[in-house]
Every structure is written in structure tokens, then in C-alpha cells.
């Protein structure tokens, strides 16, 4: 669908809207001169992402993100405490099984800290991918009843998890001194690393959400794929544990360098700049593929959802 100048329509009407009450016929007529005409026609093939239109709908995005967050914690006794409890529980189990029983090395850091620093980006990533992957189907009612750029739906899901990530990062920061560690300047890289993970989650999440509309099977496939993906990512083990002939898996998996990056940032380990740069490139490519596919099939969502 090509909707020319939609955002401008909204802006001009804002200017013309009186502070209260109805639009008077005169202001409507004079406004009409500046209101561009919206054209609706069938579209074909690939199309460009309409960034301007997305920007015009930014308020809807923030409303949807806040809705998701509110709904998530309403009616739960522990509320926001879940944000900490979930990774904490995983950390406890992994520390027990992999740290104490299996004695997986952790690059000389306390295993609990090591695994928690890895779990943060991974938990965020997998939750974001799963929730955005199913988000369009879950919003079928909206998609078939009201127009807005559909991309907002999976983007809102990915954005909704950021608060949780932030809270657990603060928790980790506070936990480091307890294990005798300290904060280093490496922490300054955290925003870039978070951005990398967000971009990866956006790419994979939008792709799955668009595929799930047509083929519901992708919903269940995504769950298994993410489990496998976690084992292909150094979350519970260090990169050094991976044999030389399998190192390529970590190279093409953007989450590998980014999870390692989180560890470097929080634990003060030196960064593998090259690996991170490559991973950011791959993330960006995933993002472009995901969004492009989404935009290509977006126009038939309402018909097949």
C-alpha cells in the first residue's frame, strides 16, 4: 500500500485543530488546501520502509510498549521482582549443574557471575524474539480492524523487554562487588552492545512474526530453534572451550560475540573488537532481511491472519 504523505496529513490537521470543540467548516476548508491527497493503489514487489510514517506513529509505539509492560506485571504478586528472579533462578541452576557438577571453566571468574553476565543479553534476546515472533498473530484483532504501520507491533514487543534488561543489568552491577570484582571503563561499551542485541532481536523477531502469520508452524519452530541457538552461543560456557574446528559457528552467530561482549563489559575482560564488529555487521544484515521481508508481505496480513 502506498500512502503518500500520510504523516504530513496528520501534522497539518494538528495545526488546524482548534484547542477544543469541533472543527469549524471554514477552518476545514482552508485546511483542505494544504492537506495532501492520500492515494490507495495495489502495490507490487519489494518496497521501501516508510520511516516518516513510522515516526508519525511513535506515540502508538510508546502506548503499546507501556501496555505490554503494565499487563505483564498486573495481577502478579511479585510484580517486577520477577525480572530479577527469573535470571537468578537460571543462574542458580546453571551454576549448580555446569559450574559445580560439570566444572565448566569460566575464564577465571566466579561461575555464577560469569553465567549471569551471559544470561542477561541472552534472556532478553530470546524473550524478545519469541514475543515479537508471536506478536502479530496475537494482535490479529488490531491488524484486521485498524490501520497503522504493522512493523510497530513486533518492534513494541522487542522494546518492551528493555526495561527488564535494564533492571537486571543494575542488579548485576550491584552483585559484582559482592564477588570481589570491580567496575571498569569497559562498562561504557554497554549501550553499543545493547543496541547490537536489539537490532539482532528486531531482525529475527520481525522475520518470524511475518512468517508466523502465513505459517503458524514457525511459532513452535522458533521455540526449539532458540534452544539450539543458546547452545551455539557461549552463554553457559566460555569461548575458549569450543574446539578450533567449531569456532566458525561462533563467528557467524552474532549473539556469540555480543554475549561475550557483555561479559567483557561487566567483568572487565578485554574486548574482542574484531568479533564484535563482525557480529554487528551480521546483526544489521539480519535486521535488513527481516524488515524487508516484513514490508514485502505486510500488505496481505489483514487478508490471511
Amino acid at each position: 500500500m502506498r500512502i503518500a504523505g500520510f504523516s504530513r496529513t496528520m501534522d497539518t490537521s494538528m495545526k488546524n485543530a482548534p484547542s477544543h470543540g469541533a472543527l469549524s467548516p471554514t477552518s476545514r476548508t482552508s485546511g483542505a488546501l494544504s492537506v495532501p491527497t492520500k492515494v490507495i493503489e495495489p502495490s507490487h514487489g519489494w518496497r521501501m520502509l516508510d520511516v516518516k510514517e513510522l515516526w508519525a506513529y511513535r506515540e502508538l509505539l510508546s502506548v503499546l510498549v507501556r501496555r505490554d509492560i503494565k499487563v505483564r506485571y498486573k495481577q502478579s504478586v511479585l510484580g517486577v521482582a520477577w525480572v530479577i528472579l527469573r535470571p537468578l533462578a537460571s543462574m542458580a541452576i546453571f551454576t549448580l549443574i555446569f559450574g559445580m557438577f560439570a566444572r565448566i571453566p569460566s575464564d577465571g571468574y566466579p561461575y555464577a557471575l560469569f553465567v549471569f553476565a551471559g544470561l542477561l543479553p541472552w534472556t532478553y534476546f530470546s524473550t524478545a524474539v519469541l514475543s515479537s515472533g508471536g506478536s502479530l498473530v496475537a494482535s490479529a484483532g488490531l491488524v484486521s480492524k485498524v490501520y497503522f504501520p504493522r512493523l510497530i507491533i513486533p518492534v513494541a514487543s522487542v522494546a518492551g523487554g528493555l526495561l527488564d534488561l535494564l533492571i537486571s543489568m543494575v542488579f548485576l552491577l550491584l552483585a559484582i562487588p559482592l564477588f570481589g570484582g570491580g567496575w571498569t571503563a569497559n562498562l561504557l561499551a554497554v549501550p553499543v552492545l545493547v543496541l547490537g542485541v536489539v537490532v539482532t532481536a528486531l531482525g529475527v523477531g520481525t522475520l518470524i512474526s511475518a512468517l508466523t502469520v502465513a505459517y503458524r508452524d514457525f511459532g513452535s519452530v522458533a521455540g526449539y530453534a532458540l534452544q539450539i541457538w543458546m547452545y551455539a552461543t557461549p552463554v553457559i560456557y566460555p569461548v575458549s572451550l569450543v574446539p578450533e574446528k567449531w569456532q566458525w559457528v561462533l563467528k557467524i552467530n552474532p549473539m556469540a560475540a555480543q554475549v561475550e561482549g557483555f561479559r567483557s563489559a561487566f567483568l572487565g575482560k578485554p574486548f574482542d573488537i574484531e568479533a564484535i564488529a563482525v557480529s554487528l555487521g551480521i546483526s544489521l544484515a539480519l535486521f535488513v532481511i527481516g524488515v524487508a521481508y516484513f514490508e514485502k508481505v505486510e500488505r496481505r496480513f489483514a487478508d490471511i491472519i
Binding site: 500500500m1 500512502i3 496529513t9 496528520m10 497539518t12 490537521s13 494538528m14 485543530a17 484547542s19 477544543h20 469541533a22 472543527l23 467548516p25 476545514r28 476548508t29 485546511g31 483542505a32 492537506v35 495532501p36 491527497t37 492520500k38 492515494v39 490507495i40 493503489e41 495495489p42 502495490s43 506515540e59 502508538l60 502506548v63 503499546l64 501496555r67 503494565k70 499487563v71 498486573k74 495481577q75 484483532g141 488490531l142 491488524v143 484486521s144 480492524k145 485498524v146 490501520y147 497503522f148 502465513a214 505459517y215 500488505r299 496481505r300 489483514a302 487478508d303 490471511i304
Partner: protein, 416 residues
Amino acid sequence: MPAISVHNLSKEYVIGGRSKPQETFREMLAEAIMSPYRRYRHLTGDVSKEERFFALQGVSFEVNPGEVVGIIGENGAGKSTLLKILSGITEPTAGRIEITGRTSSLLEVGTGFHSELTGRENIFLNGALLGMRKEEIRKKFDEIVAFSEVEKFIDTPVKHYSSGMYVRLAFAVAAHLEPEILIVDEVLAVGDARFQKKCLGRMDEIGKEGRTVLLVSHNMQVIQSLCRRAILLNDGKIEFDGGVVSAVTEYSRSFSEIVVERSWSETEESPGNESVRLQGVRVVPEIGWEGELLTVKMPFRMEFTYRLLISGTFFFVGVYFRSINGEIIFRSASAPLEEAPQGIYRSTCHVPGDLLNNGKYTVDLYFVRDGSTVLYKAENSLVFEVHDAEREPGSFLGELPGAVRPKLQWEMESVL
């Protein structure tokens, strides 16, 4: 310059993708292997002619600024598809539309309402979905709340609202949209009579304020009171475009096809969906013989036979009994079945004699699960006429007004 100009608009849908029920293991196996391929063909549109249909075909019209235009037609005539395309929800297959002016569309009241959120939170959510700015909603917030009459519960989650309160709040948000062009789909048929009147009043105001309105409704009274022009759609084509009175007359005429009995065989494409499928509907007089003319005095029953394809709890069947111009005369529903396994069912509704006035009536049938989830709605599943009966000697012989003609008990005595 027209506010809306629609040129040669068509929309083609691919049907099918659904297969016949499989009965043997072999068929099931074959189905499991074939279905991904069929789904793929379905999605890419690579299907034969029989599997396609045009929801709209070569539709052209123009609407001038300030016009209030009704869109009428039977179910499946393409009304909703037209509104969905105009709203940008779905794309046309061919043709072109030009819309000049800020547009809002209202295809449902309370789109996006979340039961866990409070009335206040839902106002902001719903407003944003309808394209209102946060500033705008904040400014009108008090007005919206006042219109909805739920002031006391505005900070209560809407799941605790009665359905009436829910609908009032939802409509209140919509009523405060201030677009230049408003596209509305049958949303006025909600709430109690008093609130409906308030909504109609609001719609009338909107029309008088010089905004352009496109309105779909099954209620011809609403259409006639709000619009001066109406477009009648039939099978995806414009059958009539002009004065509202003529359009409504045309519409009623197309409706005159009486359905007192209809049945479908298992293989036929009968009304229904993946949850429930109709097998037969009929109206039978309770006294006299089948096929006798139904009169106002005669009790009759309506029988609906259907196959329930899913099992349900608190399953029930209800009807909306409407006069020919769409006004609801009454609504009635069966007692719910606590457990309803899959299978073939028959629901019968007994209507007493001496209740209805003479005239033509249509019956919408709906199937509900879990006490409130509508599985399927069959509009105009029955269309029939109740004839006047021979009147008592000496009584009034003219046309009797009113939707019903109940026989009520009267006492007449001299008290002085």
C-alpha cells in the same frame, strides 16, 4: 475536489485452503502431505478460478466533502471489504482511491481494549490506535469520561465493567474523534437503547458539522435518519447509488426472497466456519400443517440444525429477530449446554402466537461458546412473512402500527 474518489476498485480473495473432513487414516495421511503445498498455493494466489472470488468488482463512486453516505447491502455484498480498503487495512487488487482530508475509521468499538487495563489506560490506548495524539486525548479526556458515564470506575480495570459500561466507554472515545472524513462500520448497534440514541445524536452532529461520513449499517432506520444518499452493494458491485429512500427500497426488494426452509447436504458449501456449519433452517407453524401460511395468531417454531466441529463448554444458540428494515424486535437465546461435544445438533425456538405484527421478518442466528465467545453469526438465516389473520368481527380493519401485536389482557368495568 471530492473528499473520496474511488475508481474501478476490485478486491479478489482466494478461498479454499480448507479441505473436506477426512474420514480414513489414508485420507488423513494424504492431507498431511498435501496441506503445506496447498497452503503455499493459497498464499501465493496460484489457484484455479473456482478458488477465487471477487469481494468487490469495478466499484466507482465519489463522495463530496460534507456528504453523509450510507453503504447498504446484504452480508457478503462487499461493504466491509470496501471500508477495509478505504481504511488502508487491506490492499485493493485493482483500481485507485484518492482521499483528501484527515481520515479516521471506526470498524469496531473498543479496538485494542485490554481487559487488565483501567478505563483511563484504555482510553489512551484506544485513542492512539484511532490516530489521536496524546495531547488531543488529554485535552478531551474529561469530555470522553463524561460522555461514557463511567466516571466512578475510570480507574478500575475494564474486566470488571458490565458489557454496557464497556461499550459506552469504547464509543465515547470514538465519538471524540475529529477527522474530516469518518468511516464507520455498524458500530452504532451497541449498548442499550438510551445510549444508542445518544450515539446516533452524536453521529448526526458529526454529519451536520460538515464532515464527510461513510456509514455501513444493516439498520435502515439509522441509514435513513443520518444519510441523504446511499450506495447499495450487491455481489461486490454497485447496484444503486442515489437518494437514500430509493436505495432502501431497492434493498428491501432484493431481500424479498423468502427463506422459510433451507437445507444443505454435507458436501455443499453451507453457511458456517471452522467451528460450526449449518445443515438446515426452517420455520414451521406449531398448529395446522407444514407450509400453511403463518399468521399473527399462530405459534410457530424455528429449527436450526448444524454440525458443531469443535467441542465447547457453555455453548448456546441465540437469535436476533429483526423487522425487514433491520430494527431488532427481540433477542432470544437457548439455555447454555455446560458441555457440548462435537456432533450434529438441532436447536428449536418456540415463538408464541399473538406476539408479532404482520410483516416480513429476518432472523440472525448466532452460536456462542464459553458464555460469550461468538463462534459464528448467520445473518438473515431465515426470512419470512407473518400474515394478517382474520380479525374479530367489528374490530379495526386498518393497518395496525407497531413491531409487535401482542394479545394482552384487558379489563373493562364500570366503576361508577
